[in-house]
């Protein structure tokens, strides 16, 4: 064994964050995901508007518009109220989600024509969200504890240093065997996710661009482009009008507020 074989791992160790000395790839993957989550916690609450442009293989487009309100919950997943504006036939429909760090989320759907609040099964996480290329789980299952991790490598893309990790959904109802994630080292922002289906074939790629900074340390991508490699369909999700710390409380996330949503 020559000295170079000793040097390379030693050099790599020096590049790792402090305390990452004797980490396995699994430990390191979890540590990076935990750090990314830590950096995005403490936002309190925010609202934003979302527009989705759905495009099929022939290039035909249709649009979805929704408004979203998010409340951070201490020691649990976020509470999210989603109000649908487009297409017009679902206008006024609203979805209340209590996401949880562990176990299934709780979801209630408000149907304005019937004035009915329906508790719905949260089992459909692999299903498409509003006919788009985003599955429910792509949007809601963002808690660290919902996956196990493995650090793969570092990569430099477009002048940015990135961590590349793999994560494996713990929920057997997930539509994926694994996801490969690129996070930039500067702010631990997601830059790209490759989704592998249940047969472990590459299904979709999500690319995050147009990041904006809110407050000191909260970053939101204003453009998320999801491409389905197997069907040729794509969905561009555009986010705008982020407003942080608007003073939302639990009361804005109950069945009464769901029925009042317009």
């Amino acid at each position: 064994m020559t000295i170079r074989h000793y040097l390379l791992p030693l050099l790599l160790l020096c590049l790792l964050p402090p305390g990452a000395g004797a980490q396995t790839p699994e430990d390191k993957g979890l540590a990076i995901a935990t750090e990314a989550d830590r950096r995005d916690s403490g936002f309190g609450d925010y609202t934003n508007d979302i527009k989705m442009i759905l495009r099929n293989r022939q290039g035909q487009e249709s649009t979805r518009e929704i408004r979203s309100e998010t409340l951070e919950v201490a020691d649990d997943g976020d509470k999210i109220l989603t109000i649908f504006d487009e297409p017009a036939d679902v206008r006024g429909t609203a979805l209340l989600s209590f996401t949880h760090k562990q176990g299934p989320d709780d979801q209630w759907l408000y149907l304005p024509a019937l004035k009915r609040v329906k508790r719905i099964a949260s089992d459909n996480k692999s299903g498409p969200f509003m006919g788009s290329e985003f599955a429910y789980e792509d949007i809601t299952s963002r808690e660290v504890d919902k996956y196990t991790y493995r650090y793969l490598r570092d990569e430099r893309i477009d002048g940015m240093d990135m961590f590349v990790l793999e994560r494996y959904p713990k929920d057997e109802k997930s539509g994926y065997t694994r996801q490969v994630i690129w996070l930039d080292k500067a702010h631990y922002k997601e830059r790209r996710i490759d989704y592998y289906d249940r047969k472990d074939s590459l299904l979709k790629t999500l690319v995050f661009t147009d990041y904006h900074q809110y407050g000191d340390n909260f970053w939101r991508a204003h453009d998320m482009f999801m491409e389905n490699h197997q069907t040729g369909k794509s969905t561009r999700l555009l986010q705008k009008n982020f407003r942080f710390n608007v003073g939302l409380t639990d009361r804005d996330f109950d069945k009464n507020s769901l029925k009042r949503a317009r």
């Binding site: 036939d89 679902v90 006024g92 004035k115 009915r116 099964a121 459909n124 109802k173 289906d197 009464n256």
Partner: protein
Amino acid sequence: MHGRLCIMTCLFVATAARAGEWRGYAAGELLGFLEDPMQPAQHDGYAALAFEPEYFHEWNNRHDLFTFKPYLLADTHDSRRTHVDLRELSWIHAARDWETNVGISKVFWGVTEAAHLVDVINQTDRVVDEDGEDKLGQPMAKLSLIRDWGVLDLFVLPGFRERTFPGRAGRPRFGIPVSDDARYESGARDHHIDFAARWSNSIGAFDIGIAHFTGTSREPRFIALPGAIGGTTVSEITPYYEIINQTSLDLQATSGGWLWKLEAVTRSGQGERFDSMAGGYEYTFVGVNDSAVDVGMITEYLYDSRGDDIDPATVLASRPFALSPFQNDLVLGTRITLNDVASSELLFSVIFDLEGGGQSFNLEASRRLGNAWKLSLEARGLANIPSDDVFASLADDTRLRIELARYF
């Protein structure tokens, strides 16, 4: 001091309130029947136009909401189906742990699919559709207390709305026409003030509601008045609205792909006290064969202790009788959701009368066309109805309804 600061913050950080907006839909509908009509005044086909605009205005950081929602329906043949209703004209004010709703509004209670037993606040607008899901606007003053132990809704309901029934030319309808000159038990008639209270809460996997209603029954019994009786035949039946007391429970347990549902009601005031219940489950297979398609299987059992037999002696003596379709019935259904861009979905169900032996078929399907149009298809019919069944006069009303709606 801290409390005051919080209030100030809440006042000054307005979330995006939506001021003065219109939305709604206009729809054209065609209704066709496979069989010849049983009544001479009825037709083979009907057309209708519906219009339901909604104006709303939010202010005070979305803590106040005004809604105005009229509804208009015009039918080619049935003059009683042609009607205008004020579905909503209400002001909602939301505070931190309470909420009020004053005006004309609509409230839904319940969990099951085939029957809506506990849903008693609003009157059914029966001429719009036969599924009992269209409701007339109800005048109300409602106070909701929103606390850690759940939500307590208290209702004062001044002003009663009579159920709508098809006219002589309407189809489907009972063989005997329903009079539009209703009778009441109370001398106050439709000015009787009704009250209701409901406690509801979500506890883990359970969503539970317990309610009590005291006032004019939304579901009438019927009377054949002496003037409408000729020998053993009846030319017209009259709705009879009595004062009832009804206590109900609605419960849903949600776990994985399972929804377990129960509605149970006990009611006094219409002859002997009786009980009714609807219960069952819906299980959804998500992403069948690795596609985006969800398939739900629905099973519900419907029970009513009144039974569905009508004693001719009661009718001919001008005593009230009930028309309750579900006394011992089994519902089997499937819900298919394509999860495609057009939001295509289909619900098919069969209700089996376990005592009389007849079946009722229901198919509802819809998909969006473009971004603002929606096409709906509905097929309903009865099969194997015994000739002595209460609903035998509806046996030849197999029908197909097509609706094209433009949303704005």
